[in-house]
Amino acid sequence: MTVEPVSPPMIALENVHLTLTSAAGPVKILRGVDLAVQAGRSVSVIGPSGSGKSTLMAVAGGIERPSHGEVAIDGQDLNALNEDELASFRGREIGILFQSFHLIPTMTALENVAVPLELAGEDGAFSRAAEGLDAVHLAERADHYPGQLSGGEQQRVALARALANRPKLLLADEPTGNLDQVTGQEIVELMFGIQRERVTTLLLITHEPALAERCDHQYRMADGRLQKIAPESKPERDADLQPPLRSDEVA
């Protein structure tokens, strides 16, 4: 049932290795990761702490350079870009959502959302940021500082910020990890809703199997290696949560 892709995959990782040097010697974090995700699809990665999930995301976001292997986002070879080109590519094409929100404490919600637009030199940064806040139902908290917002609200601002530039790729690193169940659920609904609506590609890292299963494809990361676990082994009980899947090629 393989469908031949008509355009390059949104995420294309080929034999990616990453070794970090530490005082105790080199640490192999990624050991030959291959991943291809078509545009508009959602992919989840689960795995134990220290397995390399977040590093995989950093590599996909052009934040960490692989020691070896190819990384292309939307057809752009990231290895060919220098630090500053990477930064502006990220600003245009990629949105990142963190577990601990990482809002800039000295900026209001609106300013936080506007920053990526301002950095990309977009016109009307603030009106577009206001629209973004509206989309996460926080229009009335636009002038609040992060310290004045609840955890859930902060993560909604972070979501609005990650999506402000209408990126083609959204990277979410345990976005509900610091939130209670109800609030986390709200964020998840918002995130998937906007992802579907804008046909954004999503790479989601999570510890929660239920959340992972909402994605089109599920992978497990263990010891620096990536292994596909669904759709083939998709658990029955969550089947009703998922739209019917097309199987994509995964190398």
Partner: protein
């Protein structure tokens, strides 16, 4: 580019909303240095302006003709200046004033006429009393300090020479007095008509006759002065215009201002370390934001701009406050500097020194900000995923290093502009660079040694020492900054110790304790009798002295020779001797035979020969009491060692030439302190015109001046030390977060507060010890060079000063560490560990 900057400024403003952590240290460092430099600049500009405006008053006229020991004839004077000029005559000499109970003080006597002062105003106390009225009918006006010394009050009578005077007033301001020079005694004014009665001036006694002129409007003063100087190059008098007074004063002011500017600059540079530390500390707290901005698409150049703008904004605030203080300070300190500066400070608004100070402030900030900023812009956004954010340890890129180089060059350039003494500025730049390098190397070496030591001690010692060289520790910065302050302090303390030792040696040791001047030839026998009668008086030396001025060197008029030597600035004491004075060391030539009776021969010192560029056989011409005398150089001898207390003269003639001129004798006598008053009494009674100079008193006066100078220098050293302390405070503040966490974890593991206190105490004691050690060695080495090579004084070890500086360093670091960690100790561990 502009859009980029605007965006960077917008983002910078947002960050600044929450304040700038460590901004207090940052601002304090900057304010201290900028204020010091601005204040010195404003004072200097004020003095120079005052000098410019008051120059005729300071000279006493548009033109001054000065003759030593010999009054000039009216016809001669009338021929010198165009008609319509007003003339005022002043005679200056030294004399003995007698007060109550046989109290005696040598005074600087100023004998004036009704025309005095031609320019400016004499202010007396009681206010409103005119000088002419005060001096009428045998009146005298004195400097305030004299009243107590003679135990007299206004209305009392004092005796000067052979005449009595009534004290009418105290002089508050004298328009033609240039301070900053040691005068033999306090000032006393009397009127010319009373001079003869006092019988102070005898043939050959040292007196200066000033003829001051207020020229008629329309006369080209400068041309007149230049013309007179050319025409009367070999005359017995000296022609002075207002331009001649300025170099003398500006030399003193310039040197003082250069010295003070350098100390301000030193404190600014030391404060720069504090600025760098504050920026580094601030950026450490911002690493998360920086990484986030990079995740959101900010290029490293944008990050650099955002934080550079924040630093600059803060720097501008600091510079502005510094300038305001610098501008205001001269108003406050003009009272303190009185007596140190030759003229009063004119306070006003002077943009140029303020601009220079502002330039120093901004450039120092930039020079010290570039490194931490360059590191911040390299922060990797990857840290966001690892909860491990560390500043980059990479060397800044080439553009950053270039910018750093430009800032340093700019600072050096400004130093050359701001410090008028170029040689001093160059020396400062070299010393600053060398000191920074030496301090850094020394600090690194000592820290390396503590690292090796750390493995050997107990747990507390190990932890404390490990804190000094763990990654991100500020030990090197603190040691360099505090060490620089302490080095300056050591240097000054040790030099001071050596100067005091030398002074004590000179004034209470072998040097004759009493000198007498103006002994007439016919009084010689009486004088020798008086000294012989005093058993305690020993080693009487007598030297004939004649005042004369060098007017020609070889065939060139001295004032056109281009030679600049102290012997040419005014007339000098000349003497003659048949035999070679004891202790003379001949470098070239041979002494004349004791029965020599030919044309005048001359012995001069080697430094005079070098400055004049003359050799054996060359001719020098002197004007002695109006007559030009030529002499051939027969002997070049080593510079006279005045510290040996011998009576000698820089120009010594062969016999047969000077004896004919009316002249007096100077004498030197060794006498102990208890016998000194008896000898003084005897001379005063029998030879009232002879002026004694007590070396004990002069030594005391020099010590007094040194006290004042020492106070100024200590203030300067204090400023550099404060800058070092600010850096220490910044480092303690920067370490606070780490202390909090460390204390909490150790408490959980069972450490009591006293255990923690010990660890922190050892850490800060170690810091102080290393800083003091490095500073002590550098300061001592610097002082050794200055004392032995520059001042040519014997070296004395100043262990007391060293112990004092060690104590200062240890108590300062300990106090700073204690204040910084005390609050940490009291915090419950739970509250800290909950919010890492």
């Amino acid at each position: 580019m502009i859009a980029d900057l605007r965006l960077a400024w917008r983002l910078a403003k947002r960050e600044l909303r929450s304040g700038f952590t460590g901004s207090l240290v940052f601002l304090a460092c900057l304010i201290l240095g900028v204020a010091a430099i601005a204040a010195v600049g404003v004072i200097n500009a004020g003095v120079l302006e005052g000098l410019e405006k008051d120059s005729t008053a300071l000279l006493g006229g548009d033109l001054k003709i000065e003759s030593t020991n010999r009054p000039l004839e009216d016809e001669l004077l009338a021929g010198l200046v165009p008609a319509g000029a007003r003339r005022g005559d002043v005679v200056r000499t030294n004399a003995m004033a007698h007060g109550q109970d046989n109290r005696r003080v040598v005074v600087g006597l100023k004998v004036v006429d009704d025309a005095y002062p031609l320019y400016g105003e004499v202010v007396l106390d009681p206010k409103g009393l005119a000088l002419a009225d005060a001096l009428a009918e045998g009146g005298a006006v004195v400097e305030r300090g004299l009243l107590a010394r003679l135990d007299v009050a206004i209305g009392d009578r004092i005796r000067i020479g052979e005449a009595d005077f009534t004290l009418r007033a105290v002089v508050e301001r004298e328009p033609d007095r240039i301070g900053g020079f040691v005068s033999i005694g306090p000032r006393v004014f009397i009127h010319q008509r009373d001079l003869a009665a006092s019988a102070i001036i005898q043939p050959g006694s040292l007196a200066r006759f000033d003829y001051r002129f207020a020229l008629a409007p329309g006369v080209d003063t400068e041309a007149l002065v230049a013309g007179l100087k050319g025409e009367h190059a070999e005359a017995g008098f000296q022609v002075n215009g207002v331009r001649d007074i300025q170099p003398r004063v500006t030399r003193v002011v310039d040197r003082l201002a250069s010295f003070l500017t350098i100390s301000g600059l030193a404190s600014l540079l030391i404060g720069g370390v504090g600025v760098a530390l504050a920026i580094q500390n601030y950026l450490t707290g911002k690493i998360g934001n920086i990484a986030m901005l990079k995740c959101l698409g900010a290029a490293s150049g944008m990050i650099f701009k955002i934080y550079l703008l924040q630093v600059l904004a803060l720097a501008l605030i600091g510079v502005a406050i510094g300038l305001v203080i610098g501008q205001a300070l001269p108003f406050l300190v003009s009272a303190l500097t009185e007596g140190l500066l030759p003229v009063g400070i004119r306070t006003g608004f002077y943009p140029q020194p303020l601009l220079v100070a502002a330039g120093f402030g901004v450039l120092t900030t930039l020079a010290f900000a570039i490194w931490p900023l360059a590191r911040a812009k390299e922060i990797s956004p990857a840290g966001m995923f690892r909860a491990l954010l560390t500043p980059s340890s990479r060397l800044p890129d080439r553009r950053m290093l270039l910018a750093l180089g430009v800032c340093l060059l700019g600072l050096a350039g400004l130093a050359l502009i701001g410090v008028s003494d170029e040689r001093l500025a160059m020396i400062f730049i070299a010393v600053a660079l060398a000191a920074a390098l030496l301090l850094t190397i020394a600090a690194k070496l000592v820290l390396l040694a503590t690292k090796k030591l750390a493995g050997r001690g107990g747990a507390r010692l190990r932890m404390a020492l490990a804190n000094l060289h763990r990654p991100g520790a500020h030990a090197t910065s603190v040691i360099v900054a505090l060490g620089a302050g302490l080095t300056v302090l050591t240097l000054i303390a040790v030099i001071d110790h050596n100067m005091r030792a030398e002074l004590d040696q000179s004034f209470s040791g072998r040097v004759p304790s009493l000198f007498f001047i103006d002994i007439q030839q016919d009084q010689l026998a009486s004088f020798e009798d008086i000294v012989a009668d005093q058993e305690a008086a020993q080693n009487l030396q007598l030297l004939p002295t004649i005042r004369g001025r060098v007017v020609r060197i070889k065939d060139v008029a001295a004032n056109q020779s281009g030679v600049n030597h102290w012997t040419l600035r005014r007339d000098r004491a000349l003497s003659y001797s048949a035999t070679m004075p004891v202790g003379t060391e001949i470098i070239d030539g041979a002494w004349w035979p004791s029965d020599y009776a030919g044309p005048a021969m001359l012995a001069i010192e080697d430094d005079v020969a070098e400055a004049y560029d003359v050799a054996i056989g060359d001719q020098l011409a002197f004007n002695v009491l109006g007559r030009v005398i030529e002499a051939e150089i027969a002997v070049i001898r080593r510079e006279i060692d005045w510290s040996q207390g011998r009576l000698d003269a820089a120009f010594l003639f062969s016999p047969g030439t000077l004896e004919a001129a009316p002249h007096a004798f100077a004498a030197a006598v060794d006498v102990d302190a208890t016998a000194e008053p008896r000898l003084l009494d005897a001379v005063a009674e029998r030879l009232p015109n002879v002026t004694p100079i007590s070396m004990r008193e002069v030594g005391g006066r020099i010590r007094g001046i040194m006290e004042k100078v020492r106070l100024a220098i200590l203030a300067v050293a204090g400023v550099t030390l404060i800058a070092g302390l600010l850096v220490l405070a910044g480092a303690v503040a920067a370490a606070r977060r780490r202390h909090l966490y460390e204390a909490a974890v150790l408490k959980v593991l069972g450490a009591r507060r006293i255990d923690l206190l010990r660890v922190f105490a050892i850490e800060y004691l170690g810091l102080g010890l290393v800083a003091a050690l490095v500073a002590g060695l550098l300061g001592m080495a610097g002082a050794y060079v200055v004392v032995t090579e520059v001042m040519h004084l014997p070296w004395a070890w100043a262990f007391g000063s060293m112990v004092m500086i060690l104590a200062i360093a240890l108590s300062l670091t300990l106090a700073a560490g204690f204040l910084g960690t005390w609050r940490v100790l009291g915090k419950p561990a739970g509250s800290i560990l909950r919010t890492p």
